[in-house]
Amino acid sequence: MSEVSVPASGAIAASSRLDRGGLIRRTEGLLVPAALVIAWEAVVRGGWVSSHLLPPPSELVTTLADLAGNGTLLEHIGISSLRVLIGFLIGAGLAVVVGAAVGLSRRTEALLDPTFQALRAIPSLAWVPLLLLWLGIDEAPKITLITIGAFFPVYLNFVAGIQKVDRKLVEVGGIYGLTGYRLIARIFLPAALPNLFTGLRTGLSLSWMFLVAAELIAASRGLGYLLTDGRETGRADLVLVAIVVLALLGKISDSLLRWLEDRLLGWRDAFDSRPS
């Protein structure tokens, strides 16, 4: 067929052009933060703000280097990341199982969904005192809180994704003789995958939020503890370093999910690939 042989070379050229565009956009994104950091340093050095309340970026770098040097920073990062990882995996895992059951069956929905909607209405931090009462101040209440935080966004998005699957595609599955779990695996799950990822990414960022909440209240290690410690000892630099590290960890973990999302959902015909 003569009509089909064109794309290859053009497509490669276009994609490398896109890559360069992406690089430019990424560096563009650094302009504002860089300007802010410079202004911050200047403001503190100029004496307009007390360096006790707002330590300049250069001091933060020293603090960071100290913490990294004696290994405590890595320990805090390790313990916090582990808590998030465990809580997120449990919460998201439960949400996928329960969400599939609720999304696929009206009966399970009638049975379970009202309960989850009611539980969701509770501001999650209200659980904290109860969790502390029930589970003590060990790992259990922290992980449980993170699990709660991760559960709801994943659950809600996944259920919505399954319920919104295009009837026309489900009919295709039917025509090909798919029923039961094969219909679920081959039509419902792939069709709901984009929604699932939206839920996972929201769930992950909430997991970090709830980690901080849990560690602020009762912890002797972790980045949330570093925040409390900094406040109690009057060291704004510690607080700021903990904030920066939390931001970085949140960003890195989100980028990992996003990378996975792009790999698994490359088939989507999304508006995302807009030109700069």
Partner: protein
């Protein structure tokens, strides 16, 4: 009259208060090629959905090989009016959907894709296809399955005239090769007559049968065979009898010289 593959009797099919089909009755024998033509909205797609088992809320009795239609039977395949490709599967995986992911390397997939002119697109995703290309993938998917009864809902409506002819011949050769029975909905009377052993003409409001034209020309057929043109005119007459709201062209057609006729025929095809 009893037919050995499909016996269809739909006494009534309603969508809410609207009666869409009333007393439609026909049958198909194994190996036959039958077309359904009729004005837009007369219930052709609905009939195919009933036969495929997608629609079960009607009054009547439908039997495929003496069994009521059921959705998950492998006996009946359906090529929908829209391509309905699964967006998360590549072109080859869509064609081999029946086999699951492992099917994409099946040599028959490669062969079918080459035959519908998409040999280079096996690994493309549906979002990378044009409307006509997507429709050709859907045709390849329908042919891949080799059911005993293949239902096609305006399968060639989105492709250019030249490709359309090639696909028509591909359909005939695949169906002939596997002894597949075809029930085809089309708006193109010329196509219906060229492909079919019988053309069933429907009228609308509510959808009912206004007549049937038997096309007895021998196969393989020559598109210029004057016999086909005669049958085509018969189908058009039936269509006009059943649809009053369109201009009645059959009168002019009967009087017009053959060249004229060709022009009028194509404009009429467009109109219905």
């Amino acid at each position: 009259m009893s037919h050995n593959l499909l016996d269809l009797m739909v006494a009534a099919k309603d969508f809410e208060a609207l009666r869409v089909i009333k007393n439609v009755r026909f049958g198909i024998d194994s190996g036959e090629i039958v077309s359904l033509v009729g004005p837009s909205g007369c219930g052709k797609s609905t009939l195919l959905r009933i036969i495929a088992g997608l629609d079960t809320s009607y009054r009547g009795d439908v039997r495929i090989k003496d069994e009521p239609p059921h959705l998950h039977s492998r006996d009946v395949g359906l090529i929908f009016q829209e391509p309905r490709l699964l967006p998360w599967l590549t072109v080859a995986e869509n064609v081999a959907f029946e086999l699951g992911r492992k099917g994409r390397h099946d040599p028959y997939v490669t062969q079918l894709l080459a035959e519908v002119g998409l040999g280079d697109f096996a690994t493309a995703y549906p979002k990378q296809l044009s409307g006509g290309m997507a429709q050709r993938v859907a045709i390849a998917r329908g042919l891949f399955t080799q059911p005993s009864l293949l239902l096609l809902d305006e399968p060639f409506s989105a492709v250019d005239a030249f490709t359309r002819r090639r696909l028509q011949d591909l359909l005939l050769s695949v169906a002939g090769h596997h002894g597949t029975t075809l029930l085809l909905v089309t708006h193109d009377v010329n196509e219906a007559v060229y492909l079919s052993d019988r053309v069933i003409v429907l009228a609308d409001r509510p959808g009912r049968i206004s007549g049937q034209v038997i096309v007895d020309a021998r196969r393989p057929r020559d598109r210029r065979n004057p016999q086909l043109a005669k049958r085509e005119a018969e189908v058009l007459t039936l269509l006009n009898d059943g649809t009053n709201q369109f201009f009645d062209l059959s009168y002019h057609l009967a009087a017009a010289p053959p060249r004229w006729q060709a022009i009028r025929l194509s404009s009429l095809n467009f109109a219905i």
